[in-house]
């Protein structure tokens, strides 16, 4: 078992608890089902993610397609698209976020109760995508909101959305309720609501939320930059 552990890539979202998955699996094979409150809680949450019914552009059609019979997001417990942010756990930012729309998106996020998660679906939501050179297009919703999962593609296939949702479920299952690496929503010092930008004369004010988004050092390469 130890050799297997050495070769395996590190799990980005390690399972909760102090015993490893393998050990737990071993126990289960011996007829002992071990769980903790944390795990039960995460299991319940991860299998009933209710997204907000919130479509921005082209990707919204693929989001609807993911909810229909062929892809059937209900198999993941996420079929209940809530029209009200107050009842939703997940915001799927599906489409281009324009500067005119950005304050409303942030406001919707603020109205969602904790714990809440955000999936940036499609190139436009991640970075502005093909429209990022536009004067009215926000270059990525992560300038104002913390994004958990990015799903590139223009638009991503419904399967890709389901794949992203599974990653999110995995992330939720790996969250801790206590301890130093406790989940965001359990900590008082991490904000759950963010300032809503206002419309300025030339651009949004502010153009980004520095608490959420700081660009990495720009890549300067030898040839052109």
């Amino acid at each position: 078992m130890s050799t297997a552990d050495n070769t395996r890539a590190p799990d980005p979202f390690p399972a909760a608890g102090n015993i490893s998955d393998d050990e737990r699996e071993e126990l289960r094979r011996h007829g002992i089902l071990m769980t903790s409150l944390e795990e039960l809680y995460n299991w319940g949450r991860s299998n009933s993610i209710w997204p907000i019914q919130f479509g921005l552009a082209c990707c919204a059609i693929e989001m609807i397609a993911a909810a229909t019979a062929r892809f059937d997001i209900a198999r993941f417990g996420a079929e209940i698209f809530r029209p009200s942010p107050r009842q939703a756990d997940l915001m799927i930012v599906s489409g281009t976020v324009t500067k005119k729309m950005a304050p409303q998106v942030v406001r919707l996020w603020n109205q969602m109760p904790e714990p809440k998660y955000c999936i940036a679906m499609g190139a436009c939501a991640i970075s502005g995508g093909p429209f990022k050179q536009g004067y009215n297009v926000l270059k990525g919703i992560d300038r104002f909101l913390p994004v958990d999962i990015y799903i590139p593609g223009c638009p991503p296939r419904p399967e890709a959305l389901l794949n992203g949702l599974m990653q999110l479920q995995k992330k939720i299952r790996g969250e801790h309720l206590t301890g130093p690496d406790a989940a965001r929503h359990t900590r008082a010092d991490v904000p759950g609501e963010f300032p809503v930008p206002t419309f300025g004369e030339h651009d949004l004010e502010p153009t980004r939320n520095p608490e959420v988004w700081t660009p990495p050092a720009p890549i300067t390469r030898s040839g052109k930059g």
């Binding site: 050179q133 004067y135 419309f199 660009p215 052109k224």
Partner: protein, 214 residues
């Protein structure tokens, strides 16, 4: 449908004071257009809509075009008399002249009743800064309503007589007219991993300053 020249002649006969110019389109589409002066445009539009032979009851498309000021360099050959008494020398003199730009609105008219078209009409403002008023054709064709608001928003042409002239696409506090050719976009090029061309120039302003070695 009668040809555009015939329409122009008929219009000139009906509106003697108006200036109506035929603007030719050199492309293969050969959709020529009529340039109308602003004062008579609405009356002419009414006439085009109600005339029995034309009945252009449907304005399909209204759009703006920006023609910025441009510097025209003219070379003139001037003969300079030789002080030594020889033959005149021909010297090329270059003069630069600023040709004022203008904003233009273009309308594509069709007739649903007689199923013909298009008749293209266009109007021009005097300049791009302070005399940018054109008559609105919304009272003639309701379909210009949103399109003229869009032109006002993106180009800054003020349509006189429009019932509800507000910005259509951008927010109300916005000051610029982004579709103009000289519009400068807000600078949000902090993270450009694959820049080239114009984007590279913009992204470079965010690159760290080169270290100065003492």
């Amino acid at each position: 449908m009668e040809s555009l020249e015939q329409i122009r002649d008929r219009l000139l006969a009906r509106f003697p004071g108006a200036s109506i110019t035929l603007v030719t389109n050199p492309g293969p589409a050969a959709e020529h257009s009529l340039l109308l002066s602003a004062e008579h445009a609405r009356k002419i539009a009414m006439f085009l809509r109600d005339d029995a032979a034309l009945q252009l009851d449907y304005c399909s498309n209204a759009t703006g075009i920006d023609w910025p000021d441009k510097e025209v360099v003219e070379t003139k050959k001037v003969a300079v008399p030789d002080p030594a008494g020889g033959p005149d020398k021909v010297v090329e003199e270059k003069t630069t002249r600023l040709e004022p730009g203008y904003l233009e609105s273009v309308y594509h008219l069709y007739s649903m009743a007689l199923r013909h078209g298009p008749v293209v009409i266009r109007m021009r403002t005097v300049n791009r800064s302070n005399r940018v008023t054109l008559p609105s054709l919304t009272p003639v064709w309701r379909s210009c309503d949103f399109q003229e608001r869009e032109i006002y928003d993106l180009y800054g042409i003020v349509f006189d007589g429009h019932p509800d002239l507000r910005r259509l696409l951008m927010w109300d506090e916005f000051k610029d007219h982004p579709m103009r050719k000289d519009y400068v976009e807000p600078d949000d090029f902090e993270w450009e991993p694959t820049p080239h061309g114009a984007v590279l120039d913009r992204a470079k302003t965010h690159y760290p300053a080169p270290e100065v070695k003492p």
